[in-house]
Amino acid sequence: MDLRFTAEEDAFRKDVRAFIRDNLDPVTHRKMLDGRIPSKEEVVTWQRTLNGRNWATPSWPAAAGGPGFTSVERYIFLDELHQAPAPEPVSFNVSMIGPVLIAFGTPAQKARFLAATANNDIWWAQGFSEPGAGSDLASLRTSARRDGDHYVVSGHKIWQGMAHHADWMFTLVRTDPAAPRKQRGISFLLIDLHSPGVTVRPIITMDGRHEVNEVFLDEVRVPVDCLVGEENKGWDVTKFLLSNERTGIARIGMTKHLIRRIKRLAGDNAAALRKAAAIEAELKILEITQLRVLDGQRKSDGPDPRSSVLKLKGVELRQAASELLLEIAGIAALEVRSDEDPIGPEDEEWVGSIMPNYAILRAASIYGGSSEVQKTIVASSILGLK
């Protein structure tokens, strides 16, 4: 039994760290340190910089043009991004639609989309949830009816993260309303958001920011070559995508970044530092749990149910850290500021993001399978309680 990384893995971590240090735009980096949201241009530029090193698509196999990371390398890479902190490559592109196209796409779809997706020449949005279909995604109602070489799509999608930046949306639509099981009548379509009939409307979240949207689709004509997988088999594609979304990264590095901020703001406030230590103790142990999951992934391909443990505990600790950061910042954090406010002198702790980030981090236990859904998965798939 040995928890150490190999010499190659340690060297890889150093490599990633040096690459970020040498190539991440200082303004983008400072915004990340401050907890501000970087601009679209900054995110795209950074993703292209990573792509220049073939690191923009950490989960893509080499055969599909990705770096072919091992699960451990992928973890190290993301951990370095989180700790730096640096923006992650847009997850809709590289963690969601990319792997789907690699697994289910036609040769023409791969040729058309993969490289552009990696380089963020196309920014993708996710078109899954609807006002009436959240955790019960399969009850979605957006319809697509075949009309010659097109599907004609109408419906209302919601919670499209960064769709106002996006060019395309991978979308679940109902192609067979009469299917005996609701999962059977669903298809997976790629929709050009610049098409006539598409309206993207902002939803302002409780952090005061515009990050999510709703998308209205009104008789949008989508060429049939934008169908991924078979018609009415979109649920299989979706399950594949969602299992990738939960590949078991606890985002410990992000919490470490919050702990650093806590310590800088806390100074010699012993009571605050003790609260931070209580979080750090659990975080350190979660790191070991993370390594156990990675070790298991290396030895078996199947989804590891302990990934749910990582998400549950990872989110719990991240939210606890953000709450402690808010508590330490105190009333200074209450003033409404903007991510666009001028950046302060070096070493100044920007408190303007603390309340917004605390608030919006509540979403971390809601999206990607809410904590309650995760617990139901743990209870049924690990404990056999149904």
Binding site: R274, A281, D295, I382
Partner: protein
């Protein structure tokens, strides 16, 4: 990175599990607890015969030369079976203090402990002082202090080996909730000399080994408490269906599993920290481990009782014994809050600014 057990380690795990399944069921354990000292000399003799008392120690001091992973496996198995014999105080704590702190005298001092002839105890309480060659003061709740033949007494930076019948040493022995015994010790000018002195590293290593063993014990006890709880949820019927069909109970069980996995990780981390050469990292690591097993263990103990309903609070149900053991684990060798504070005092794991 590799979390696999070796074949030998797996064999050890199997043989300890088989032995405990055969010889240490809940009824036998209850019988052991009813013996004069609250534990079984017969079981202790069997532990010696199985080599368990020698297992953690280097061959040079009379041990089997196995490592911290093997000791972890023993701890997990003991946690599952709720072993009440004084393995932690005599072997893990006093034994390690002597093995790592007594230099060339270690083998001779350890021999009676490893052979089972003598029971050791570890008095780690800041209120004993060394004054002019005499130990003076008191030590509270010394595990196995009620029956110990030899004490390792921490005083100042070092520690001293003191026979149980030393002049000036008196004790008040008692039973502990959750099994086993302890004593409050009173040192009224107990003479010690260089021959009985242990190096400070022995104390540090004993504390670390104790936390590692508790982590393993907690992992075993928590997994067992979860297993029996899940079994109960599947079989206990109310309103015409298993109570485990209720989502509120399912979620509580899932929350238990999260904490069980965390404590398994803590036990593994503890076992691997034994080879960590950076003292600061070791110190932080063991503080974090103790803090986590205390907090997570308490949650799982409370949840296991809660999900069992009324039967969970009864003496006759094993879950109430895991509850008490896990509660005790959180309190001994430094409380949860003590170790959180210690981790804070050590600066935590995350540097204020990140190295480039």
């Amino acid at each position: 990175m590799n979390f696999d057990l070796s074949d030998d380690q797996r064999m050890l795990q199997d043989s300890v599990a088989r032995y405990l399944a055969d010889r240490y069921g809940f009824e036998q354990r209850t019988a052991h607890a009813g013996e004069a000292r609250g534990w079984s000399q017969q079981a202790w003799t069997e532990f010696v015969e199985l080599g368990l008392t020698m297992l953690p120690f280097r061959e040079e001091v009379g041990g089997l030369g196995l490592g911290s992973v093997e000791t972890m496996l023993v701890g997990e198995a003991f946690g599952r079976a709720l072993v009440i014999e004084p393995y932690l105080p005599s072997i893990v704590l006093a034994g390690t203090a002597v093995a790592e702190g007594a230099g060339e005298r270690a083998e001779a001092l350890l021999a009676p402990i490893l052979s089972g002839e003598a029971i050791g105890a570890f008095a780690d309480d800041a209120s004993v002082a060394l004054i002019d060659g005499y130990l003076v003061g008191t030590a509270a709740c010394v595990l196995a202090g009620d029956c110990a033949d030899v004490f390792v007494v921490v005083a100042g930076d070092g520690a001293y080996v003191v026979p149980g019948d030393a002049a000036g040493l008196s004790r008040r022995g008692y039973r502990l909730h959750g099994g086993g015994g302890a004593a409050d010790l009173h040192f009224d000018r107990v003479a010690v000399d260089a021959a009985s002195q242990l190096a400070p590293i022995g104390v540090t290593r004993a504390r670390e080994a104790g936390i590692a063993f508790l982590a393993a014990e907690a992992a075993g006890a928590m997994q067992s408490a979860l297993d029996i709880t899940v079994e109960y949820l599947k079989t206990r019927e109310q309103f015409g269906k298993p109570i485990g069909t209720n989502q509120a109970l399912q979620h509580r069980a899932a929350e238990m599993l999260v904490e069980v996995e965390q404590v398994k990780s803590a036990a593994i981390y503890a076992a691997t920290l034994a080879s960590e050469t950076d003292d600061a990292e070791r110190a932080k690591g063991f503080a974090a481990i103790k803090a986590v097993i205390g907090k997570s263990g308490r949650f799982v103990a409370q949840s296991a009782v809660q999900l069992h309903g009324g039967i969970g609070v009864s003496e006759e149900h094993i879950v109430s014994h895991w509850f008490r053991r896990l509660t005790t684990i959180g309190m001994i060798l430094g409380s949860t809050q003590f170790h959180v504070n210690r981790l804070a005092d050590l600066g935590g794991f995350t540097a204020v600014r990140r190295a480039a």
